[in-house]
């Protein structure tokens, strides 16, 4: 309920108070605003005891120190930085860009710029466009190589699907120290 009320109030405020201001502000302001809004929104799900909400928000902005009552090691956030790094790179148009580079090489043409190949390009919002390796290779040898690359991409995507499935299955890991058959 708190979550619903939060977004309800926010929508009204955006419509009547600061919506226009936000739309005129630089994009970075909008990004930061969105992140702050959804991170705060998640706290309504995470904290079930309302009396803990304010201390939780305080902790989020460092009122109790950078690591609060825990140590840096205990907070475990450090374990995830390689994942964050991969996610940060994957969130850029690197995949469409690479795809365009390969296609341009196969078709003997100059590659499009990274701005044109970015995921922000509406053309790439269609998922089949984003992942499918489509082009017209200029020579039979390039066609062969392109086909191999296509298969490798498919295998990589399936491996990603397998890894995702494994991650879901691992969520149900439920061990007992002592055997309880």
């Amino acid at each position: 309920m708190g979550w619903g009320a939060y977004y309800g109030v926010l929508l009204i405020c955006e419509k009547y108070l600061w919506g226009d201001l936000l739309s005129k502000a630089p994009a970075i302001v909008g990004h930061l605003y969105t992140i702050a809004v959804f991170v705060l929104g998640w706290s309504f799900f995470w904290i079930t005891d309302p009396s803990q909400l304010v201390p939780y928000w305080k902790a989020m902005v460092g009122v109790f120190g950078a690591t609060g009552s825990s140590t840096f090691w205990e907070l475990t956030a450090w374990e995830y930085w390689p994942v964050f790094a991969i996610c940060a790179v994957a969130a850029t148009p690197v995949c469409p860009f690479l795809k365009e580079r390969i296609a341009a090489w196969a078709e003997n043409r100059a590659p499009a710029s990274i701005r044109e190949t970015g995921v922000a390009n509406p053309r790439h919002l269609e998922t089949s466009e984003l992942c499918a390796m489509e082009c017209k290779p200029a020579t039979p040898s390039k066609e062969r190589i392109f086909a191999v690359v296509s298969v490798l991409v498919d295998i990589a995507l399936l491996a990603l699907l397998l890894a995702s499935c494994a991650s879901i299955v691992a969520g149900s890991f439920n061990p007992f120290i002592y055997f309880q058959f």
């Binding site: 009552s69 825990s70 140590t71 090691w73 205990e74 475990t76 450090w78 374990e79 995830y80 930085w81 390689p82 994942v83 390796m133 066609e143 062969r144 392109f146 086909a147 191999v148 296509s150 298969v151 498919d154 295998i155 399936l158 699907l161 397998l162 890894a163 499935c165 494994a166 991650s167 879901i168 299955v169 691992a170 969520g171 149900s172 890991f173 439920n174 061990p175 007992f176 120290i177 002592y178 055997f179 309880q180 058959f181």
Partner: protein, 412 residues
């Protein structure tokens, strides 16, 4: 263009294989096909997780409405994934590789074996250890209540001799490599302040049985689980024996029980890379009758069979050797080969499993209760009213909460 067709066909075949595999395996299991053990398809229990797999939920409108049926179905489904154990291990290995890379700039001695794991790997020393346990505001009052109760009961039973072995384990020792990275960990001072200081009765011999160094943790405790080696167990036993005038057993002529096995921490940490040798001594306890809580005669775990020369674990890698080797059901021991008429009550944890024979060899009758592991039906005072000559209590710092939760009657 035929290369493009070949690529598309390959993709379709790979995708079909992926989705069809789960269906084919389930159909084959349904048709009674026996998969090789290595595939672990269609089995009903997991050695790795130490539990039986979830059964198909019993559907009722009540459980469908409250969401239990859906949750149970999810558990059932995830338990039916072919090669589930291997999937869990592979996923954990992937996460561990990430954590290992993440640790590069920080260079922590120990790091979790997968995301959110309460088990850590110490690669330099080839250890798999539980993360250092935390004290809590609930734990100290329970420890104080138990120790004060014991002290009062000791005063009420002046003819009974009490020994309190205040254990620290790998999880509750300040020499646990993750202790320095944690807050509010157990330490020797905690033991002194909340337990030992209350045990002042004249007929109680209480001693701090802490791990004394990291070297001890590495060499005298099993490196892939929380239990101790027999060598370390006998150090504690001999200290108890000296005080009660029992037979002392020096650690000698050890025999290797199993060259390759996976400890409880390997299972919990989903990390089977570390190994630990498991040794026992061929001490003869054949004159002792072991009984379970129904009064039935049982063996001393798999130990009897092993000493009789049987290949008790086969050739497959084995989990939880400590537990299965010493058994989990012994609650009473009757010694037919002693002139003593004395009896002993042992209040213990799983650590005492290695010592049951050594303790029982000194008494006509020995009763073992584990209030932190299994529910005990009676309060401690009722056990003492049975008139035991000696009472040995061997408890760890981290077990007081378990006692209150699993055996609420025990402390009263």
């Amino acid at each position: 263009m035929h290369f493009k067709k070949a690529a598309n066909t390959t993709f379709l075949i790979l995708t079909a294989c992926f989705f069809a595999s789960a269906i084919v395996v389930q159909l084959a299991i349904g048709a009674g096909f026996n998969f090789p053990q290595e595939m672990k398809a269609g089995i009903e229990k997991s050695e790795l997780e130490g539990r039986s797999y979830a059964e198909f939920p019993k559907l009722s409108s009540k459980e469908l409405k409250n969401g239990k049926a859906q949750a149970q179905f999810e558990s059932y489904l995830s338990d039916r994934i072919p090669m589930r154990d291997n999937v869990l291990l592979a996923n954990a290995a992937l996460q561990r590789a990430c954590i290992k890379a993440a640790n590069f700039p920080f260079n922590f001695d120990a790091y979790p074996t997968f995301f959110e794991a309460d088990t850590s790997a110490v690669p330099v020393d080839n250890l798999i250890i539980p993360n250092a346990s935390k004290t809590s505001s609930k734990c100290a009052p329970i420890a104080e209540k138990l120790s004060k109760l014991l002290n009062r009961l000791a005063q009420e039973h002046p003819e009974t001799r009490f020994v309190y072995d205040a254990l620290s384990t790998s999880a509750t020792s300040e020499f646990n490599p993750t202790y320095k990275y944690s807050t509010d960990g157990f330490n020797e001072t905690w033991n002194q302040d909340h337990v030992l200081c209350n045990l002042t009765a004249e007929n109680i011999f209480a001693f701090d049985d802490s791990i004394e160094s990291f070297d001890e943790l590495k060499t005298l405790w099993l490196t892939t689980e929380h239990h101790w080696t027999l060598k370390r167990a006998l150090i504690s036993y001999n200290r108890i024996a000296q005080n009660l005038g029992l037979t002392e057993y020096p650690y000698k002529n050890p025999i290797l029980v199993k060259a390759k096995w996976y400890g409880a921490r390997c299972r919990l940490g989903l990390d089977l890379e570390a190994s630990s040798d498991f040794y026992d001594m061929p001490t003869d306890f054949s004159n002792i009758e072991w009984r379970n809580n129904k009064g039935d005669k049982i063996s001393y775990g798999k130990r009897d069979a092993f000493l009789a020369g049987k290949n008790i674990y086969g050739n497959s890698p084995t989990y939880n050797v400590y537990d299965s080797y010493y058994g989990t059901e012994i609650v009473r021991a009757i010694n037919n080969n002693t002139n003593s008429n004395r009896s002993c009550l042992v209040v213990c944890l799983s650590y005492a499993k290695a010592l049951k024979g050594y303790i029982a060899s000194n008494y006509k009758e020995t009763v073992f209760i584990a209030p932190g592991k299994k529910n005990t039906e009676k309060p401690l005072s009722a056990y003492l009213d049975e008139g035991f000559d000696d009472v040995i209590i061997q408890l760890g710092r981290g077990n007081y909460l378990n006692i209150a939760e699993r055996s609420p009657k025990f402390i009263g």
